[in-house]
């Protein structure tokens, strides 16, 4: 069995009295697409930010390609991040930069590529997410929400990462645009041969992009299985969630 590209081992995270992650353990194999489902406030985004090093866990370990990066800083952390892409829930495009500068940010920032070459590379990557040259010089505020997600996807894949995190990639999009984003995620992740960790509560998105699905509930992974098994998991929590029922062991977050 190969070394997992990402391994979370008993990760815990608190914010004051709010115990968000209560010992999350999760392995992601190279090339695998894992979708983590869970209700609002279940700790999905916090888990992702810990995995990416945007937050430091209170306890537990995070391994990237077998290397413990839990407490890593500076160059060691930068080396890991160079091999990881991230699509944020809000897109998180930089307002003050044009679309192509957003996409090519990592290349420009690395200083190894000239701006003109970085622009060519950005336009080529924008084409992969079905965006034409005409959007390259626009600012994020001048394009639609769906286009912003595509630009964010282009930014996350431009450096050909080994692992890509997707934080609610279809939130706020109409069903057709959401499906197009799902298709692009599958196409680009498979094309790169990268592993992907997607967090979502959109079950149609989860069914479409996942090889495996895990469910996070009250700060713990309570079920994991193949995407084809998610509708017949035999787990009452998963059943309630995937079928969107108000009645069941999970109390609605209202």
């Amino acid at each position: 069995m190969s070394t997992p590209i990402l391994s979370l081992q008993n990760v815990e995270k608190r914010f004051g009295k709010n115990h968000v992650l209560r010992g999350v353990s999760l392995d992601v194999e190279p090339g695998q697409s894992l979708v983590v489902i869970g209700g609002s406030g279940s700790g999905k985004s916090v888990m992702l930010k810990n995995a990416l090093g945007l937050m430091t866990p209170d306890s537990g370990n995070i391994l990237f390609n077998g290397e413990d990066v839990t407490q890593s800083r500076g160059k060691s952390r930068a080396r890991m991040r160079e091999r990881v892409g991230m699509l944020f829930q809000s897109g998180a495009l930089f307002d003050s930069l044009t679309v192509w500068e957003n996409v090519a940010f990592r290349l420009i920032n690395s200083g190894v590529v000239s701006r003109s070459k970085a622009k060519d590379h950005a336009i080529e990557t924008l084409r992969k997410v079905r965006l034409g040259t005409e959007v390259a010089d626009l600012y994020p505020a001048e394009i639609s929400g769906g286009m912003q997600k595509r630009v964010s996807l282009a930014r996350s894949i431009i450096s050909k990462p080994d692992l890509i995190f997707f934080d609610e990639p279809t939130t706020g999009l109409d069903p057709i645009t959401a499906d197009a984003i799902n298709d692009l995620i599958i196409e680009q992740v498979r094309g790169l041969g990268a592993a992907a960790v997607t967090i979502t509560h959109d079950m149609s998105s989860a069914r479409k992009v996942a090889d495996e699905v895990a469910m996070l509930f009250e700060g713990k992974i309570i079920w994991r299985g193949k995407a084809s098994e998610v509708d017949n998991s035999g787990n009452p929590y998963v059943d309630q969630f995937v079928h969107g029922r108000a009645e069941g062991p999970i109390q609605p977050a209202i």
């Binding site: 991230m86 998180a92 495009l93 930089f94 920032n109 690395s110 930014r155």
Partner: protein, 279 residues
């Protein structure tokens, strides 16, 4: 009846907990909060300073911030300086005339502007325009995950966002203070010659004869410190901004108020030091 009896202990406990705060507990919590805030600001300032004075520098970002902080502040600084200079001349004339000392108007105007008011007015104006602006911009970036995105793309927000603003403010403030000094003195000259009957040539000669290099230098030293304070407060409050319009608005308010108070406090401390060392 039972309901009332049952509710009383809860009500009493609630009053004890929330209704009448224990003054000692409140003072203790406020003191701890203040020390915690000072500590966090000090750590933040040390990290910004380290990023500002070691490579790598984002020259494009520094230049962009210089234009924003320096060039676009010229109108507000110029307008403030001219009115302050003019009002200062009028008041000194009024006060001086009680002792037959009207002839000291040019000397006192230039002294007041270069040593004190040029830098202080510029600092206060920029606490409003620049510190609040930086805070709102960075706060909006924080709550829309742009700062997380920056880090995920291997760029340090300290180097890419905070250090350029800090360096730009350190450079731009003294330049703005030079402009404020010149315009402030000219405001005094304008009122003195047009309304108070001073001869233009004599006024300007008295001004130039009286002002010393140290008068100008003290204002410029203050300007550098004010620049650092203004940029740091903007970046610090923006970085800590809470989600939502309220969070960003609160960050902008806190940065403006904090920067203005710190400008005045550091001004007093520096004035004391300059007087002590004879500068």
């Amino acid at each position: 009846m039972n309901y009332l009896q049952d509710s009383d202990p809860v009500s009493n406990a609630s009053t004890r907990k929330r209704g009448i705060p224990n003054p000692l507990a409140w003072i203790g919590a406020a003191t701890l909060g203040l020390f915690s805030e000072i500590g966090q600001l000090a750590v933040f300032a040390a990290r910004v300073k380290a990023a500002a004075f070691t490579p790598r520098w984002y020259v494009g970002q520094i230049w962009k911030q210089m234009v924003n902080i320096g060039f676009f502040s010229l109108p507000v600084v110029g307008m403030s300086a001219v009115f302050i200079g003019a009002a200062l001349a009028l008041n000194i004339y009024e006060g001086g005339s009680r002792y037959g000392a009207e002839q000291f108007v040019p000397s006192i105007v230039v002294l007041g502007i270069t040593r004190e008011l040029g830098a202080t007015i510029t600092g206060l104006m920029l606490a409003g325009r620049v510190s609040a602006g930086i805070s709102a911009e960075i706060g909006a970036m924080r709550v829309t995950e742009q700062i997380d995105a920056l880090e995920s793309l291997s760029a340090s927000p300290y180097r890419y966002l905070y250090a350029p603003r800090f360096l730009a403010a350190l450079i731009a403030l003294p330049l703005l203070v030079v402009v404020a000094d010149v315009i402030g003195v000219m405001g005094g000259w304008l009122v003195s010659t047009q309304a108070l009957g001073f001869d233009s040539t004599v006024y300007l000669r008295n001004t130039l004869d009286f002002v010393t290099r140290n008068d100008i230098l003290t204002g410029l030293i203050k300007a550098v410190v004010f620049g650092g304070v203004i940029a740091l407060m903007g970046c610090y409050q923006g970085d800590r901004s809470k989600a939502g319009a309220t969070g960003v608005g609160r960050a902008a308010t806190l940065s403006m108020v904090g920067a203005a108070v710190l400008v005045l406090a550091t001004n007093y401390v520096m004035s004391t030091i300059f007087v002590e060392i004879g500068l």
